[in-house]
Symmetry: C2
C-alpha cells in the first residue's frame, strides 16, 4: 500500500521506536533515523529484520512517501533542518507536542499556533506537513495491545492527510481527520491535559476517544 | 449541596437553556439571565417552576455560588462587564468557545491563550473563573438522554474547580479536572475539531471521552 520505506526520524526515542516497530509488524519497510547512525543501526537491529538505521538526513532522503518526525519540541527546528532536503516532495508526519519542561502539564502553544504549523513554516513549501500521534502513550504503542485512543490527524492538504489516516489504520489505530494544521493545537494542547489527568487521577496513560456514530469521511 | 440559586447568564441561548433545565431537574434553584428581562422571564416560565428570569446583572447579583456564562465569544466581553459587580466573590463558570464565524471549523484561539484566560482577565481578581461545558452538544443536553461526552473542567483555583466538577456530576455528566485555565485551550480548540468531525463524518454531535482507569482525583 505504501510505496518505498517509511522513515522514522528520531526513531531511537520511545514514540519513534514504537511506531517503527508497529509499521514493521504491518509488513512495511522502515528506516530508523537518528542523529547518530550507530544508535539508529542498533535500534533497527533490535527491532528485527526489514529495518535499517541511518542518519536523519539520509533516512529522509531514502524514504518513499512518508517521513515521520518524532523528536522533542526543543529538537524540532534542528531536526527539520536536517531532513529538509531529503523530504522534498514527501509527506512529513510531525508528532511534535510543544511540551516545555518542567511545566509539561500546562498548555503552552508556540507563537505559530501549533507545533504543526511551526513545522510547515520551518520545512517550507517543498514538503506537506501532516500532524498526528500526539496523544498516544508510547509505552502502550510499544506493545501489541489494542490502544483505547483515537489519533487525530491534521493537515492543510487533505489528500496527504487521508494518506496519514490510512497509515494510522495500518498500525491498528483509529485515525480521524481533524482538519487543517491550525487545528493541531487541539491535540497538542490535549496532551498536556492528559498528562495532568494521569497525575491527578493516578492513571497510566489516559487516552482520547471521539464518540458518536461516524460515517465515511467526505473530505 | 449548592447554596443559593445558580445563575445562568445568557440562559435564553441553547446551551444556557439546556444547562438551566438540567439544573432545575436536579432540584436546583436557577435564575436565568438575559440582556432582556422579558426574554429571561419567558425562558424561565417555559422551563417550569423553580426558575426565575432577570437581567444578566441581576441574575449574577442574586446568584449563590455559581454564575454560569453561556454567550457567544463576541458577547463575552460585554456580558462579563454586565455581571462583574454581581459576581464578586463567586465562581464564574465560563463556557465560551472562541469560534469566529464563518470559520468555526478552524481553531482560532485568542491572544490570551484561551477564552477562559480572557474571561479571568476581563472579570478581574474579584471572582474565580472556571471553564467547562465546551464540547457538549447543546441539543443533546436539552434532552434527558445520557450524553457520551466528558466535561473537562479548568481553573487556577482547584477548590473552585472541584466545585464545578461536582456541579457537572450533578447534572448527569462526568466532569474531569483538566488543569489550570491555560489548559482550557485544549477543550476550546477541540470544539472546532468536533465541528469539523461532525461535518466530515456526517455525525450528529461527536463528543469526547477520556479513556483509562481513572482513580479518585488527588488535586
Amino acid at each position: 500500500m505504501i510505496s518505498g520505506p517509511v522513515a522514522v526520524v528520531g526513531g531511537t526515542g520511545k514514540l519513534g521506536n514504537a511506531l517503527a516497530r508497529r509499521l514493521a509488524k504491518a509488513g512495511q519497510a522502515v528506516i530508523i533515523g537518528s542523529r547518530s547512525v550507530q544508535s539508529a543501526s542498533q535500534a533497527a537491529a533490535q527491532l528485527g529484520c526489514g529495518l535499517t538505521g541511518l542518519s536523519n538526513a539520509e533516512a529522509a532522503a531514502k524514504a518513499g512517501q512518508f517521513v515521520i518526525v518524532t523528536v522533542p519540541f526543543t529538537a524540532q527546528e534542528s531536526t527539520l533542518a536536517e531532513i529538509k532536503a531529503g523530504a522534498t516532495g514527501k509527506i512529513v508526519v510531525d508528532t511534535t507536542v510543544p511540551l516545555m519542561p518542567p511545566k509539561v502539564m500546562r498548555v503552552q502553544l508556540p507563537p505559530e499556533g501549533s507545533a504543526a504549523q511551526r513545522a510547515q513554516k520551518l520545512i517550507g513549501a517543498s514538503a506537506s506537513v501532516v500532524s498526528a500521534f500526539h496523544s498516544v502513550a508510547a509505552d502502550k504503542l510499544a506493545t501489541d495491545q489494542e490502544i483505547d485512543c483515537d489519533v487525530l490527524v491534521f493537515g492543510d492538504d487533505k489528500h496527504a492527510r487521508a494518506k496519514v489516516v490510512a497509515l494510522t489504520n495500518l498500525i491498528g489505530l483509529r485515525g480521524l481527520h481533524g482538519g487543517p494544521l491550525a487545528n493541531s493545537a487541539a491535540a497538542e494542547a490535549l496532551t498536556s491535559v492528559l498528562i495532568f489527568i494521569n497525575k491527578t487521577y493516578q492513571v497510566a496513560g489516559a487516552g482520547l476517544r471521539i464518540t458518536g456514530k461516524l460515517g465515511e469521511p467526505n473530505g
